[in-house]
Symmetry: none
Subunit: 452 residues, 2 copies
């Protein structure tokens, strides 16, 4: 039984070193969407693991490489950490108070692109390992790291990578790349992620735009074709009209509703934060709003583009129109089913001219709220955060947890250093150093308890 006081003392006294390491890590750009610095950042990630005695390998994929690292510990049990070294583009640059790739410390916060999502999570976990090695001279359990470079670009190659490396990635449980506290400073644990099927719908009705005085009466109009095709997918009743779309939807269980009911009220927070006047589907507040937020499939238009979009008027009939559409999926929906149903639906509704381009997908996946590993993560958090961790049965967002849950068969728990003002994906992304240390304290405890 290690002395947690000594571990915590190590973490407090060595914080500057860890923040310096994180700062070097953030200063190495790794913007997947811009293919900027990916190889260099993968090499740096492997070097950071090797410094802790991990055997590492930078493994190529058809996209950015995956960094794999492994170190044996005292017990025969293995914990797998999933992290990623890629970051979102930093644009719009003019909104950053300090340059995104020059990490800056002020008021107890470290600012920079990727400092929270996800580089800070990786270094905080390595920091916990440093503290354990210092105190115990060894790891309490086997640890594996899989650090990918395509999380911010839909993890296009991760599923295949996992399937091709099942033996190497074999573990008993998995800690996810993110986590943190809510606006009441309560640590929360997400037990699953919705899936996603992201497509672009596009129509071309002519080779060039046509003067609307000519085209309007007799030529097909790409923008109209797109509008009608979209309208056929979902009307104001919000019901998605793809054939069989709801067939595999598992409604939330009694336990899920119970967990959702225990979460804090969000309606006023949302209205204030996003300037939304009212919710759809007649929702107003309470558990109904929270359950609907995550337990229903969605079909969201993320973008529309066609014809003239400048100021004033231009009398043109557009030859081309396109829409970005994401479908969020709940268990047990599958992105491949959505793609197939979408094509069938468009053909059946008279829109064979509407092209579907698949831009990325993930299946939804969940971990049982009563899995012992979930309890271990909660119990070890209690001592660090001073209050019970809240369990959220499903997140509205998506991520590549399906191969970990369904292919590797792991319970996946989230724990991290995030907080509501971390501004991930936005300018002035930041972490709070107090939460950075807390996450390291939590990880050290998880590893010890897990090894028992």
């Amino acid at each position: 039984m290690p002395d947690y006081k000594k571990i915590d003392s190590y973490l407090h006294s060595h914080l500057d070193d860890s923040v310096a390491e994180l700062s070097r890590f953030v200063a190495q750009p790794s913007v997947g969407a811009q293919n900027w610095g990916m190889q260099e950042c993968a090499a740096l990630t492997a070097e950071m693991l090797r410094k802790r005695g991990f055997v590492t390998e930078v493994m190529p994929t058809d996209g950015a490489p995956v960094v794999f690292g492994e170190r044996k510990g005292k017990s025969g049990k293995t914990l797998l950490f999933y992290n990623h070294y890629d970051v979102q583009p930093a644009e719009p640059l003019e909104l950053w108070e300090t340059p995104p790739f020059e990490p800056s410390l002020r008021d107890g916060k470290l600012y920079g692109r990727g400092v929270s999502d996800d580089k800070g999570h990786l270094t905080a976990r390595l920091f916990a390992i440093d503290a354990l090695l210092n105190e115990l001279g060894d790891l309490p359990c086997n640890i594996k790291f899989i650090v990918e470079g395509e999380e911010e670009t839909s993890s296009v190659h991760l599923h295949d990578f996992v399937r091709a490396n099942l033996a190497r990635l074999k573990a008993d449980a998995c800690i996810w790349e993110f986590g943190g506290v809510d606006h009441e400073e309560t640590p929360v644990q997400y037990l699953g992620l919705r899936g996603i099927c992201y497509v672009e719908l596009s129509v071309e009705t002519a080779s060039i735009d046509v003067h609307s005085g000519l085209g309007g009466s007799i030529f097909p109009n790409a923008a109209w074709r797109l509008v009608w095709a979209l309208n056929s997918l979902k009307g104001p009743d919000e019901r998605i009209r793809l054939p069989g779309h709801y067939d595999k939807v598992r409604p939330p269980s009694k336990r899920d509703i119970e967990l959702m009911a225990a979460l804090p009220e969000t309606s006023e927070v949302y209205k204030k934060q996003y300037g939304v006047k009212s919710f759809i589907k007649g929702l107003t507040e309470g558990v109904d709003l929270r359950v609907e937020e995550v337990f229903t499939p969605t079909c969201t238009i993320c973008g529309l583009t066609s014809g003239y979009q400048g100021p004033g008027s231009k009398t043109v009939q557009p030859a081309r129109a396109s829409a970005k559409v994401d479908f969020r999926l709940v268990p047990d929906q599958e992105p491949a089913d959505v793609l197939q149903a979408l094509r069938q639906h468009l053909d059946a509704e008279g829109f064979p001219d509407v092209q579907v381009t698949f831009l990325g997908g993930e299946a939804p996946a969940r971990t049982d709220p009563d899995d012992p590993f979930v309890k271990l993560v909660c119990d070890t958090a209690m001592e660090v955060y001073g209050k019970p961790m809240k369990l959220i049965p499903l997140s509205g967002g998506s991520g590549p947890n399906s191969p970990f849950v369904h292919d590797l068969g792991l319970p996946v728990a989230t724990a991290g250093l995030g907080y509501p003002d971390a501004r991930s994906h936005a300018p002035n992304e930041n972490i709070r150093l107090d939460l950075y240390v807390k996450h390291a304290q939590h990880v050290a405890r998880m590893l010890v308890e897990f090894g028992k």
Copy 2:
């Protein structure tokens, strides 16, 4: 009786000078929608008129100024030319083979934004005047020019301008800003223009874009609201669903159908020129296609914009969405009626959140096909083009002819240098120099005959 041979000889031998003048005119941008170069181009227009001895005035409006010019001639009769110095936006710039505001001559064609619509028409007419002055020393009739700067932005202030200047604009007939030959090189004369009501529809559902993992299930989506509102205006049956929209529509007369039947077949030309595979409403060819093209009201989406429109995917729920929509009107529809019906319709269909911004309107107007001035324009064309001019009872396009027809009481005839591949409003707008000279020859003859 002037010697037309000498006039034609002047026009052929001075073509380079006129093209140089047109090139300078085109090189002065005057994009109304972007408020770019309007004052400068108005001043240049006035200068070009003054060079021919016109008394000019640049008259302010609440928008771009109107250039007015007047010069007396031998007879007491007055011909009014209506032209415009503004041009359409040049975007998308990447599709131009040479820069839109650097006129470029190749293969007997001059390329540039506005070279056909409408700057070439103005300079060709001035070129005819130069030839007449050179040959006769005087003009055969009084000539007035009204050159506005808001034609491409729906001539918002022209109607009021005409009403406020009825005495100054008094004339006996009017030559319109455009005209030209069809794909069989036959000169055509349009006897009327459809009206238009151009609006922007816009929706705002939140103060900022929301992560689609959160917003998709519970927040209103501006792009969806817009799609549904648009869909309520017109479905794939192409029937416009505004209340009473077809009540004032006058069907084409027997004489109209007779004139339309005499026009050449267009279906294959359209398919080839615009890359359109088939027409809407089950139309295939013949007089039915031609009548439908111009004698029906339209509702055209000219542009759509919302959310993320870049490469790849971004999982965002847009806070704002907007569409540019034009309604083409046939006699006796009125833009004010459309605006009122549109608001009523949106409210009734559950879209009070969809804002309507009026961006411009014109009533439809027509000239009697049997007016003597129409005959004069036809007869003088015969000698230049070598074949009879074709009369088209109504154009599919729109323009501010209503105040000229209804307020000034003028017969309005079209004649010009356009041809089917002029690409007005599109990239690589161009004129053919042979047609440029022919239009000047035609104008010179019209002026002489009109003065008799």
